[in-house]
Every structure is written in C-alpha cells, then in structure tokens.
Symmetry: C2
Subunit: 209 residues, 2 copies
DNA sequence: ATTAAAATTGACCGTATGGTCAAGAAATAC
DNA sequence: GTATTTCTTGACCATACGGTCAATTTTAAT
C-alpha cells in the first residue's frame, strides 16, 4: 500500500481522514453543532493537529462544500443538450439518484446550508447555480416549443427533480423507518429510480421516444 | 385588545412570543446553533424569563416539534379515503403546498431533525408516521388493483409528494435566488401548485376523473 | 389591607468550545 | 552530519453557552 507516494508525507492521508470525519460530523450535527474536537477524534488525531491542516472550522467547512459542489457539477453535465427529453431527463434523474445513494452526507450538508439561507456560499453558488439553471431552462423550453413535452414552466420541473432525488439522501432516515427500519436494498433503490423517472417523464407528457 | 382574558396574565402572550422567536431561530441556526439568549432577545424578554416558561432548550424545542406535528397531521387528514385518485391526491398536494407556504420555518426544523437522525422524536414520530403511511399505502394499492392508476409501489409516490411539496419550504432561499432574488409571487406559487399536481396525477396514469 | 401566588431580572457558575502556542519529534535537503 | 522544513501534541486561554438563584415586583385572592 501507499505505492504512489515515495515518502510518508502525511498531508494527503491526514487531510482525507479529516475531510471524511468532518463530512460525517457536519451532516449529523450541522455547522454550529459540529465541534472540531469531535471531528479530530473521529479522524484519529489530536485537535491541535486538525487545526494545523485546517486553521478554522470555517476553512474545513468550506473545503467540504467545495467537494460537494464539484460532485454536483459533475452530475449536472449528464443533463446534456439532447433531442430526446425522455433520454436526457432519464439520465439526469439516474445520475442524481446515484449521488443520493453514494454521497448522502454531502447532500444533507448542502440542504442544511440552503435552509439556513446559504450563509457560507454567498455568490459562488448563486452564479454557478443560476447559470446552470438558465441554460437548462432554455433546453426544456425548446422541448415545449417543439411540442415534445407539455407546456410547463421548466423551473417547477427542475425543482421536482431536485426535490425528489435529493429526498432519498436527505430523508434517508425517515425512508428507513418506513422500510421496516432498514435502508432500502439495491433492488428497491433501483425500483425507486425507475418509478421516479417514469412518473416524471409520463407526467410532463413526453411524446416521442 | 385582550378582550378574552379578564386579567393580564402574561403566560399566554409570553409563551407565544417565545415559541415564535424559537421557531425562527431554530430554523435559521439548527438546534445546536440556536441559543436561548438569542431566542429571548427576539421574544423581547430576558433570558432568565424564558427559562421560567421553558426550563430547558430541549423543552422549548419539543414544544416546537409538537406544534409542527399537529399542523402536519391536520394536513394529513385531507388525504381521505376517496374513490377518485385525482381528487384525493390533488387535495393532499394542495394542502401540503399551502403548509409549505404558510409555515416554512416549521418544515425546515422538521427536515433538519430528520436529517440528523431524528434524535429528539424517537418513537412518537415513528409510530405516528408509520401508521399514517401504512393506511395511505393501502388506499393507493387499492387504486392500483382497481386499475385507476398505474402499477407502482405507493411508497415512492408518497416520497415524491412529500419531497416536492416540502421543497418549496425547505429550499425557499434557493428558489428565491432562481427567481431573480425574490420570493415567488402568489400567482407563481399557484402555478407551481398546479404544475406539481398535474405532473404527478398524469405521471401515475390516472384514468378516470 | 394582607397574604399568597405568579412573574421578572441581574448576577452568577460550571462547562465546553474554537483557537493558540511553544516545545519537541520526524522527515527531508544539502 | 547538519540545517531546515514539516508535522505532532499537551497545555493553555478567552469567550460564550445553558442553566440557576435569590431578590424584587407585579398581580390575584381573601
């Protein structure tokens, strides 16, 4: 192991351990409730050592938000400028559902940040999110003009997709409670993905296929 | 004013002021981030006076959760055992959307509580939510059996309704950013309600109407 | 008017938190 | 081998928090 690094520079390894621990703790307790000493403990290092890599709790939180944003942007690319609405939406919904499955903690942190009024991601999010949304709104509007889907305001469709897909991450606990106390199996999760996709695609009256 | 109360017993008035302030602060900062002194300040009373009415922060938080639950249960009744799926779902979606509009703070607090693993509402939620959900699942399953809607697992439909309607409360801020920095007007909100209802009703293949 | 109960409030306390620091240990460079 | 940089860590500090308390005022009961 550690074949890539020639020498034992602990920076990469420690930063990763800290970021992983921080993602857990921030998602469980929120920004205010998270303590640097708990994060350090879960990362297996003393608190002072954590502050050597991340001077303040804010710095660490920003690093986490950055990681989450990059994942989110990667999924956003799957919504390409494709002729077929069913295809484009299907791919996008699946990508978002897979992120909810693989990175639920990040989704929760993001959701909390938005709920608190996005105090830590001022303009950066606003510009990025706004630009992305506007470009996708235009694509959907074109579909409407070409009568490929029903006449709807694209915003409400996007909100529905975001809300539904992220629900499987953010409300993981509640879904587990309603599933006999267990997390959804892979089979059930696949079912959920297909059902969500079908309802939305059929719901906006996609004609061609 | 104060025509009902014969004498000026400050209990009711103060508890109300405290609960309103607490709802604000808890939704903005989360349970851990909220401070009793900030809540007291917003309620216009000294901190020690707040602790006279609510001995601990936990007590106050529980009171808020109770208020939210009762509102939620009230809306839940609108999902009655009706023959017509479009009618029943339409009423339920509208009721939930109206709660998101009128009580966004409560929805945010609730969402955060779930995201953190529901540490403050152990079994009470689980039983109430589970019972309600099971009874509604059966209704939807009957619709499926009677071929009034497509064959779907009712859980995924319910999750979609919850996610979408609550998104308008929980992600209020983000929606505002994408709406030229302003909150949705009443007209747009009405549009959103209709669009959401239409996509879902059409999405599950409701036949009769 | 007197008594009892309800309500108010400034001052206070123990604890926990974010963050610092200095002293030293490891690792690298020369 | 020596100098230099990177890394580690226990001890420490100022601040802020949840909650208490006793003294006082206000209101209700008789």
């Amino acid at each position: 192991m550690n074949v890539i690094q020639k020498k034992s520079r602990p920076r990469v390894k420690n930063e990763e351990a800290i970021l992983n621990a921080a993602e857990e703790v921030f998602s469980e307790l929120g920004f205010a409730g998270a303590t640097t000493s708990l994060i350090a403990k879960r990362a297996g290092i003393p608190k002072a050592n954590l502050h050597y890599y991340f001077p303040t709790k804010e710095t660490l939180y920003q690093a986490i938000l950055g990681k989450i944003l990059s994942i989110w942007l990667h999924a956003a690319e799957t919504f390409d400028d494709c002729d077929d609405p069913a295809d484009a939406l299907g791919r996008y919904i699946r990508a978002k559902m897979e992120i909810s499955r693989s990175h639920p903690l990040g989704s929760k942190i993001w959701a909390q940040e938005i709920m608190h009024g996005a105090p830590h991601i001022q303009g950066s999010l606003e510009t990025t999110l706004r630009d992305w949304t506007e470009s996708r709104v235009k694509i959907i509007q074109r579909w409407v003009a070409e009568k490929k889907i029903d006449a709807i305001d694209p915003h409400y469709l996007l909100y529905m997709i975001w809300a539904t897909t992220q629900h499987y991450a953010d409300f993981e606990h509640q879904i587990g409670v309603l599933n006999e106390g267990r997390a959804l199996s892979d089979e059930k999760y696949e079912d959920a993905m297909e059902t969500v996709t079908r309802i939305i695609v059929q719901g906006i009256g996609v004609s061609g296929g």
